[in-house]
């Protein structure tokens, strides 16, 4: 086994050596070799991660990297020539055949030159190209936790100080929770901190994937392990006037030649070590979350319950014009202070969270529909423009509508509203390709905060009701372990939803019971709309799951019913 540094810093040497040894089994050899190394957790930790790399400290070209990313765009397949020959320049003219896999360039050892040949067609192969960006709505604690758990000793620069910082950062939301008395000060403090976080290279990487057997879809989260190339370096050598160049120019896109990849269903690092949670843990965590919510919304158990169900909701059936399982929530009549704490709390407990504030002027100015202008002359412009709505599956999006005012919508604004409406209604997002528009499925839990009922169609609308004005929010004291339990709980439960078959497994008793109930409710005119029935079923399912159970019982069905009818009573529907 070669020295450790070797396979991380110079993977190509190993690949070449394997190729020389046996060109026929070379592909398997490479895969096996790296597989064994990567599977070893201590070795795995050694691989540098591109996610916490900033532009100032680039990695050397040609080393092995990890990259946790989202597929943001897909390029056409790339044709490459699998093998090439080099010939020595001396009179012996020895020819060496080399593999061109995992590289962009023919590389010649000194004293050799590339043999120019029209490669016969058998030697061409294709590789898939993805444009990947770091997961856009990954919350800070996730980043920190990754750094913490898979932290890197293999570094070019002072990691020790950073490490220290990381722990601080990880704890900072916690600190906030503990020291709630000085909310305002702390608030401004954290935002300032957030800004000071070093901008991690925003630009994406092109990931070239070989021999894909399964399909990788747009917006999936994937962890790639591959060889990193930075060809910008070569160019920079040739151009002395590099510094004069416009700062706004995009840095050259760097490539990763993927050796191994793994699709990620979630990015919660806490679940990597402990993939399951015990049942008693679930009910405790459930209590924790509700108590956190209740500290923001005192005296409103109903709202808190809905908020919890909303956070674990997830689309599980799609129909041409609708999606079931989603539970978009609209909250209104809450104070700014509550809003801020809620946002902060969500950032602390969710792994994928982002927020979007909509006002007339913003709607009119901002293009929310991701678009790819294929008709543009310049090939380089031809890439999918990312927008705040292009998010990975199972994301959480907080839509802030509180600052909405009256005004005129332009065509762009109207389209944006339509886009959002479609997102909420069907969980699909339109992408513009200029010859046509395409609907892409997505799964984004939307929480709309508005001053009155939202203009966007939400499944559930709850108005916050309280007697007293809320000025100060006191979070209960939680330890880091407890917060981690909550984080695990939320990811775990919403993962369960996909595997779960709540209604399926049950005997048909509960089905008949629900059916009869439905007929009765129709008779009593309690249920006029079929959508309400869908909503009840979704609520019952989520209620079941939130208790960690996976069989729907009458209790949960009745619970869901009472929840919904209490809400309706409050809303006077």
């Amino acid at each position: 086994m070669p020295f450790i540094e070797d396979w991380i810093t110079h993977p190509m040497t190993i690949i070449n050596r394997l190729h020389e040894k046996s060109p026929d089994t070379f592909e398997n050899d490479v895969r096996n070799y790296f597989q064994t190394n990567i599977d070893n957790p201590t070795f795995y930790k050694e691989i540098p991660s591109l996610n916490d790399r900033d532009d100032e400290h680039p990695l050397p070209s040609g080393c092995l990297v990890r990259y946790r990313a989202m597929i943001q765009d897909m390029a056409d397949d790339e044709i490459y020539c699998t093998n090439y020959k080099v010939r020595s320049n001396d009179y012996q003219q020895t020819e060496i055949e080399k593999s061109a896999k995992y590289t962009d360039l023919f590389v010649c050892p000194p004293g050799y030159s590339v043999v120019e040949q029209e490669p016969p067609r058998e030697k061409f192969s294709s590789r898939q190209c993805f444009l990947c960006i770091p997961v856009p709505n990954e919350t800070q604690w996730v980043k920190d936790a990754y750094r913490h758990y898979f932290g890197e000793e293999f570094t070019m620069h002072k990691r020790s100080i950073d490490n220290h910082d990381n722990i601080q950062e990880l704890l900072s939301p916690m600190k906030r929770l503990k020291t709630t008395t000085e909310t305002n000060n702390d608030n401004s403090d954290t935002t300032a901190k957030a800004e000071s976080v070093k901008p991690i290279a925003k630009s994406g990487y092109i990931v070239k994937v070989y021999d894909t057997t399964e399909e990788i879809l747009l917006n999936t989260m994937v962890e790639f392990i591959g060889i990193y190339y930075d060809h910008g370096v070569v160019k920079a050598d040739n151009i002395p006037t590099n510094d004069e160049m416009d700062q706004e120019q995009m840095p050259p896109i760097k490539t990763i030649h993927c050796i191994q990849y793994k699709k990620l269903a979630h990015i919660n690092p806490l679940l990597h070590h402990q993939p399951t949670i015990e049942l008693d843990q679930i009910s405790i965590s459930r209590q924790y979350i509700l108590s956190l919510f209740e500290s923001i919304f005192p005296n409103d158990k109903l709202l808190c319950e809905y908020l919890l169900l909303h956070l674990i909701s997830r689309t599980y059936v799609r129909q041409p014009s609708s999606a079931y399982g989603k539970l978009s929530l609209n909250l209104s009549h809450i104070s700014t202070e509550q809003f801020n704490s809620l946002e902060q709390l969500l950032q602390t407990i969710l792994s994928l969270h982002s927020s979007l504030s909509i006002t007339i002027s913003k709607l009119n100015a901002m293009q929310l529909m991701p678009n790819k202008n294929v008709t543009k002359e310049d090939d380089n412009e031809n890439q999918l423009m990312q927008t705040p709505l292009q998010l990975p599956f199972n994301s959480h999006l907080l839509i802030d509508e509180t600052k909405m005012e009256c005004g005129q919508l332009t065509t762009l604004g109207l389209n944006n509203i339509k886009l959002l409406q479609e997102l909420l209604r069907q969980q699909t997002l339109k992408y513009e390709f200029h010859i046509y528009q395409l609907d892409y499925e997505c799964d984004i839990r939307c929480l709309v905060i508005s001053s009155t009922k939202s203009i966007l169609p939400c499944d559930v609308y709850v108005r916050y009701e309280s007697e007293q004005e809320i000025n100060q929010i006191t979070f209960p004291h939680f330890t880091k372990e407890q917060i981690d339990h909550i984080r695990r709980y939320l990811t775990y439960i919403s993962q369960q939803l996909e595997l779960d078959q709540t209604i399926n497994d049950t005997s048909s008793d509960i089905n008949t019971y629900i059916q009869e109930d439905f007929v009765n409710m129709r008779k009593q005119k309690l249920l006029t709309n079929l959508d309400d029935f869908h909503l009840l079923l979704v609520l019952a399912r989520l209620e079941t799951l939130s208790h960690g159970e996976n069989i729907l019982t009458q209790t949960h069905w009745n619970q869901a019913k009472s929840l919904e009818f209490t809400r309706r009573q409050r809303m006077n529907i």
Binding site: D76, N219, P251, I435, L499, N511
Partner: protein, 838 residues
Amino acid sequence: MDIAQQVPQHPRVRDVLADQCQRLFFEYLESFDDNEKKTMIDELCQPQRSTVLINYRHLSNFNDRLARVIQDEYYRLLPALSRGLKQFFREHLPKIEMEAEKLERFKRTVLSDKELYVAFSDVQMRYKLRNLNTSKMGMLIRTTGQVIRTYPVHPELISATFICSDCQMVCPDVEQQFRFTQPLMCRNPVCNNRVHFALDLTRSRFVDFQKVRIQESQSELPHGNIPRCLDIIMRNECVEQAKPGDRCDFIGTLIVLPDVSQLSMPGVRSESAQRSHGSDDKGYNAEGVRGLKALGVRDLTYHLAFLACHITPAEQTNVDTLLSSDSKKKRIETMMSDKNLFANIRTSLFPTIYGNDEIKSGILLMLFGGVPKRTMEKTTLRGDINICIVGDPSTAKSQFLKQVSEFSPRAVYTSGKASTAAGLTAAVVKDEESSEFVIEAGALMLADNGICCIDEFDKMDPKDQVAIHEAMEQQTISITKAGIKATLNARTSILAAANPIAGRYDKSRSLRHNVNMSAPIMSRFDLFFIVIDECNDVTDYNIAERIIDLHTSGTRCSVPSLVTVYTFNEIRDYITYAKAAVQPKLTPAAKEHIITLYKQLRLRETSSASNGRVSSSSTPITVRQLESLIRLSEAIAKMYCQEDIDIQHVQEGYRLLSKAIIHVDQPDIDLNEYNRPTNTATAPVAEEAMEEDIQETTTKDDTKISLDEYKRLTNMMVYQLRRMDEEQEAESQANGTNIVMPGVKRRILINWVLEQLADEINSLDELARKKATLDKIIDRLVHVDEILIQLDKRTVSQFGMTTEAKDGTNAEEEDEDEDPEGNNLYLIVHPNYVADDQ
């Protein structure tokens, strides 16, 4: 004097396969008959033509092996085929009988000057753009895509003649392959020049060359992927045949081009800027990363392109291709022999929607469509069927629309709320770049030959609704704006969904009063369906089951209860086949039947009008409905793949039409529900006894009457009240008194009505019952419908008509106090009430 010819050259490697193919191809061309040869020659005589189009299927019938070899090795054999073509003309020209002058010209212009090419059409090997990979390279294949960008046509050098700058030696016919290639060295053995050559333009040969870029079409795109693009290279005749936006079929082969500027794919904007920086001082020109060569590295990426030899507009799945596939043909045949075809297709088409069979039938027939016709005067009669669904919210209206737009290959879904007339029909817009006026297609035009689904039709501005009149009946769209005058085709069926005015469908009112649509638009719909959200144990139970099933199925796999007899693709194929293969005609018997049915309809319409009765039909019966009936019959015959329209087909069509448009499902009216609560309580004993008697003895017939009857009686009363009013007014004017007594006494009115109904009443018992019914009707009219207004004596007195004028009234005033029945109250018609359907 050419020195170079004496220089011994390397023996060229002969491609044996190519030579063989050249010979076989030559034989194939010989098999053409004289006429075909002549047309070939005629075509090639035209100055711009240099390609001979060969029907691939014809070739494979002649020699299957040759065809297969060409398919597999197309790119390699291309030059051999061209040579074979030329050889053929050279040898066969004398044998063909033609005018000598023409032959001479052909020899001169074509054989000596022109480079001849072979192109193939009708190639069956079809690949999706996404599946074009290196394994398909060099094969003759066909692919489809949507043209997104075209580049200008420019000449391409295919064989160049160079002149050595040192010794003026001529190097002829240097073949050029996608890039500029100079001779390796001067042919003059004593000249050492390897670099300095000048191109002799006059002796070099060029062809037209154009690059277009195509994108994967929407229907081929796999779920959750970004559409891909491919460059198409076209030469000669193919040039300028594809326009941006077209969907085209390209026949040709995949080739690989070394791509120098591709290292930075996609999206390194900085590169061009960097290049320009570098180029001035270091001779680092804009050829991508050529500079890397110096470092011993070479760029590795290649570029896949498609060399097209023939372009046709993309065909929809047409009948020929359908029938050429045996399995599909068999499937269609089994479907044709299915006894239960109608019901089976219907349920397969909408597996997730419960019930509503009539609507499903209607939509299914719409997919088949009628037969468009042309009259003697060259006006067209549409064959497309338009359908409108009106109904309560959440009754799967939109689901129908969405499903249709998913199913149908050319369907557009829009919402009326968000579209203006311009968005639906067509608009003249100013092009941003050229600032010229161009026509922008709207939804209706986009759905030409398809279906346009318009949701929330009623929310459209009435003005905009008017704009689609023309499109719905004449199936064209005319534009006269900004100097552009155009008539565009919009041969679409329209499937619209609308909400009732008040949010809920009011069954007691006619359709026209329920929908916010103008009569002309309404008459253009062949079928109107009304979906009412009704509470019904059985349906509710079933709906609940459906929905629970849906949620049960959990993770996106198919719902077991939704397994259908036919798949979408099968139905689609069947419809395409039926539409193309069958153009049904009316049989004489069916004609007769239609005439009688139409007569019946008209008669019913006119008779009900003359009776003063409200016709229950939702739209007046006109010739349009006759056409609808014919169209529906045609569609049904088409569905069964029968050329003749039988009486059964007409009857089925009539059934549907009468379900949908003539008869609006109107419920009986329960009179008791609206009874005055005080009615029986305070009534005099005698009357009470009588009433109770009635209520005990009468069946539901009396407390519930049909809406028809209700309306008939209402109108009768309204008519009478109005008439009496007028009479009184006339009377008072005649008398010269200004005091007008409004209204008619309730008792008088009831008596009058009973008189009118005298011939329907046979016994005293019945009379009493009738009277009670009338009472209730009046109550309902007053309290619920507010068509009549009841005035008691105090209100009446305000009109100043009171005492002296008529003594009788005075006397009766005392009675009124003991008259809880209100028999003596005065009734007038609400001034705003307009009788239905005059």
